[in-house]
Amino acid sequence: MALNRRRVAAAFLATALALGAQAQEKSIVVASTTSTEQSGLFGHILPAFAKSTGIAVRVVALGTGQALDVGRRGDADVVFVHDRAAEDRFVAEGYGVDRRDVMYNDFVLIGPKSDPAKVAGGRDVAAALKAIAAARAPFVSRGDKSGTHAAELRYFKDAGVDPGEGKGSWYRETGSGMGPALNTASSMNAYVLADRGTWLAFRNRGELRIVVEGDTRMFNPYGVILVNPAKHPHVKQAEGRAFMDWIVAAEGQAAIAGYKVGGEQLFFPDAKR
């Protein structure tokens, strides 16, 4: 019995130690979007950053809206997102400082090969959405206040369509990330707006393919913002700034440009110097 108790105590201690043995390294938390994380971009560029600065970047991938919320609460040091209007609000409200342009990628409209709304090959996203609504063809929306969701709602507005009217019939809000939304669209042969990076990395395509691309409105700019240290004093300001400086400088920009999936470049650096 006493032996048992000692054994349990030893196991307890060992586990506690193993848990505490987290390597003590310099690190920052970056709240970012599923599109950047799932496309594999961070996996490609962060090792280079860690190598040149010794700072590990811990990426929490969420929708843009959630990522900004995490920043608002002070749970991240840097946010790295793509919804310009929301970003500007974040800075104006005093939650973030020093916003910088980093890169852009583009959105693509995805749809089934059968193309019930007859939109394939077009370049006008608003016209395509209008046709989809008119045909009452199934459309999957992220519905999660992400940057992609915000862009989709902008395009519907441009098309003069209120997707809320199609709720419960052709317009399906999944309330999920890009990947799950693509999985849903794939299983029900629906149209869906996606960022090109996630689409290229996505494996479960089924009947889906790109139907509309190249509309200038579908360019999707990313920015980095430091969480305001005046509001959240624990923010790792120096390390956070080091990351922001690096990603907009030549080395970071080259790393972004160098990331390719299937030979295709996903993100286009556009930091202004």
Binding site: L19, R58, V60, R73, G74, G179
Partner: protein, 234 residues
């Protein structure tokens, strides 16, 4: 369904090619869930036993509450822990959000009602047999609770294993409080969720099979130990 078979085939191929990153994820899953189970068990077993052995005003309400908490969705637990541990929350100064420690806390809280409720039930059942003898010996609630927990150790192992299963299989809470950070807080379940959302169903399923294998191994081990000990004690 041919795709189902194909996905399974691919899953097993991936398991065969076990790589280091995957081992790290497995190890982190075990570390986090074992810690959570140990911490929760140390508190929940005596708590459940005390609920069975003592009588005090409000005890029945407490029992009902603990039983009801069994139905608490993991995501709600995750959200509550997130709000507590967030920098803007009451425990924010510890700065453990998005670390394994936060995941341990979330899982420990999540399985507490499970261990406490089942332990209470087991102890209450046994207590009917033991109560008079314990009181005759002059044992108070503390000594009685500990003695019963010790006597019920074989059934408690099953309860603790169930709790471990719930902890290691849970995804919603650890996703929220851990953030699924690659190499830091990515565990089996969040990795599965990630691969699923990337549409990489074979890898997701492969990870799922590995997870199942680990839980199975642990259960087999515990079962064998239990059988041996039980035979010894008749």
């Amino acid at each position: 369904m041919s795709t189902f078979g194909a996905v399974f085939g691919e899953a097993f191929r991936l398991i065969g090619a076990l790589d280091l990153a995957l081992l790290d994820i497995v190890w982190l899953s075990l570390r986090v869930s074992l810690s959570a189970v140990l911490i929760s068990t140390v508190v929940a077993l005596p708590f459940g036993a005390a609920l069975a052995v003592t009588r005090f005003p409000g005890r029945d309400a407490l029992v009902v509450t603990v039983n009801a908490l069994l139905g608490l969705p993991a995501v709600v637990v995750g959200l509550a822990i997130y709000l507590l541990l967030s920098r803007a929350g009451p425990l924010g100064t510890f700065g453990i959000l998005f670390t394994p420690a936060a995941m341990v806390v979330a899982q420990a809280v999540l399985i507490f009602p499970l261990i406490a409720a089942l332990a209470r039930q087991a102890v209450a059942d046994a207590w009917r047999e033991y109560a008079e003898q314990m009181r005759s010996l002059g044992a108070g609630p503390v000594a009685s609770s500990l003695a019963l927990l010790h006597d019920l150790r074989f059934s408690l192992v099953t309860i603790v294993l169930a709790a471990f299963g719930r902890a290691i299989a849970e995804v919603g809470a650890v996703m929220i409080v851990g953030g699924n950070i690659d190499g830091v807080t990515r565990v089996m379940t969040t990795a599965i969720a990630l691969e699923t959302s990337k549409g990489d169903l074979p890898l997701a399923l492969g990870l799922g099979i590995v997870l199942l294998g680990i839980v199975l191994l642990l259960n087999v081990g515990a079962h064998l130990l239990k059988e041996r000990a039980q035979r010894h004690h008749a």
